[in-house]
Amino acid sequence: MDGAARILRRYTGASILIAVFLLIVNYIILGTFVFKGMNDGSPPIHVTQTVAEGLHQNGTHYTLEPHAQEWLQKSQAWAMLIANDGKVIWDYAIPNQLPRTYSLAEVAQFSRNYLQDYPVFVWEHEMGLVVVGYPKDSLAKYQFHFPISWISDLPYRLLALLFGNILLAALLSLFIGSRLIRAIRPLISGIHALSEDQHTQVEAKGMFSGIARSINHASSLLQEKNALLKARDEARSNWIAGISHDIRTPLSMVLGYASELEESDTVPYEQQQKASIIRKQGEKLRSLVSDLNLVSMLEYEMQPIHTKPIRLSTLARQIVTDFLNNDLAETFTIELDVATEQCFVMGDEKLLVRAITNLVQNSIAHNPSGCHIHVQTALSANQRHALLIITDNGKGMEQSMLPDLVELPYSSKRKYPLQNGHGLGLPMVARIAAAHHGHLLLTSDTGKGMTAELCFPLSS
């Protein structure tokens, strides 16, 4: 699922960035706070040096310069000068318990560590060794020893450490991300299913259980709404089917008796003519009723379509031939033009015949003074669709009226009122085309004839 992969990619990228950022911030903090704290105030070694330089011999006395004394006071430190023979020859605020004589071993010992737990620092003096001691537990003394090669490798080691960190961050974020994705994936597929109007049931557990429950709820709501819509469409379609059915029986009688009167020799000629009008109008009503039923079923997708591969040219030839065989008036000429025989569509033959016949019939009905009708089957420019084009050179129709023609009569989408005919013919053709995953395209202008183009996906 590309959605999940994208999320994982983004998530990992963001995590790595965050990790690197944290690393850098830490370095800076370490650098500024920690090392600054080490050098805070007066470093002991500096104090020791100041004391050593400020200690002058004055005969047998030693005097400490005031500013060095000040340093010592500020640090609460004590100081002493050990002569080369190990005796303390000068001291300042030295704790009492400290000895006044030191052996070489003792000096070596405390110069590196502590003198009776006092952290002490030493500096060379012309008369011996200056020792400065800080209060107990005030300083930690550490000594580090590194091989030179280690020190010279340090930049590489730091670089390796940085990359190692980045790699670890990447792996960790990938791991956490993939766990997240595993939790999210059912949600994503659930949402995809929702958008495709399919029923979905996401398992509600883990941190996304709330979202999962929402998705499940939305899904069941959608299903309910669909079921309701379907039930309503079915009711509507059944209602129309019922009405069509109920009209058929009385219409049988109207047609039956009217045609009987029309053919009866005992009825005067004038009355026969009236009966003929009744019969003709009855026949119109009959075609209206059957169109109405078909249109309503197509509108609500109730018409079962029995598709099979159909060669469009065969169909067109049959329809044109039927018109010619069934006494087409002499004012009309009809011509077939087959661009290719290799033009198959998956379709319901009866419905397609009805649609094409309807279009030809339309040209005839709207041009009572006659016209030339041209029926053409062809492939579309991109070779993916089958086209059936019916053109007449009749009086045509105003361009602005065209979109109306495929809308159902009396529907809110129709801008102009119905002019002639029952207006179900073209909407029916458009719906038959749609039921075959195709469409109907009308082009016309006043005085320029009418072109109706049926476009269907080709069957392989």
Partner: protein, 237 residues
């Protein structure tokens, strides 16, 4: 023709007015022995007592439907049946015909149509057995005998090949009307006819050589450009 009208007709229809209307048409056409029934029960009773020769059944009846009624009738009788129904959906028609009905007419209907279909069925079911003979007809100076598969012209007899015979027969059945090349090919080569259009033209030329006085300007077997062929028959024997 008149002998068919002596047959007994049963009309099963719950609407009295429609029943009377059909009755009226049939009587006007010369049928005299007509029985009525308004329900399945009555219909079965009439079938048992009066043994009608043909039945016209409505589909929707107060105590059941015509499909069930037909099934019941078929248990003891093989009489021809026409459904006459306001239900015209494909499924209903297929169901009716699938149950063994001889025809299915959807209301509203023209009475003339009902009578013609009724007569066709009666003729087919009750006609005395006769040998089916293919027609013999005249095209100008040629006599075409489809039974013998031969054409006689100027004291010459030309034999028709099987394909030529099948084509001429199809054309003769639709004489005066255009037959599409698809329909012609299908009648000769069956459903896998595609690709035989050129062969069809060759066969048509051979037929013309046999039946036309001047094959290059045909008078009887005409080509309708882009659609198919048409056989013009002026006189029949």
């Amino acid at each position: 023709m008149e002998e068919w009208k002596q047959k007994k007709v049963l009309i099963v229809e719950d609407e009295l007015e429609i029943r009377n209307m059909i009755d009226g048409f049939l009587r006007k056409e010369g049928f005299a022995r007509i029985f009525h029934a308004g329900t399945c029960k009555e219909a079965l009773a009439v079938c048992a007592s009066d043994k009608p020769d043909v039945a016209i059944l409505d589909v929707m009846l107060p105590d059941g439907d015509g499909f069930g009624l037909l099934t019941s009738i078929r248990r003891f009788s093989q009489i021809p049946v026409i459904f006459l129904s306001a239900r015209g959906e494909d499924e209903d028609r297929l169901l009716g015909l699938g149950l063994g009905a001889d025809d299915y007419i959807v209301k509203p209907f023209l009475p003339r149509e009902l009578v013609l279909r009724l007569l066709v069925i009666l003729r087919r079911v009750y006609a005395p057995p006769q040998i089916d003979r293919l027609p013999v007809f005249q095209l100008g100076d040629s006599t075409i005998d489809l039974e013998a598969a031969s054409v006689t012209r100027d004291q010459h007899e030309y034999a028709l090949t099987a394909k030529e015979h099948a084509l001429l027969r199809k054309l003769y059945e639709n004489r005066g009307r255009i037959v599409t090349s698809d329909a012609l090919c299908q009648s000769v080569w069956g459903d896998d006819y595609y690709g035989y259009e050129n062969t069809l033209m060759v066969h048509m030329r051979r037929i013309r050589e046999k039946i036309e006085p001047c094959p290059s300007t045909p008078e009887y077997l005409l080509t309708v450009r882009g659609l198919g062929y048409k056989l013009l028959v002026k006189e029949e024997l």
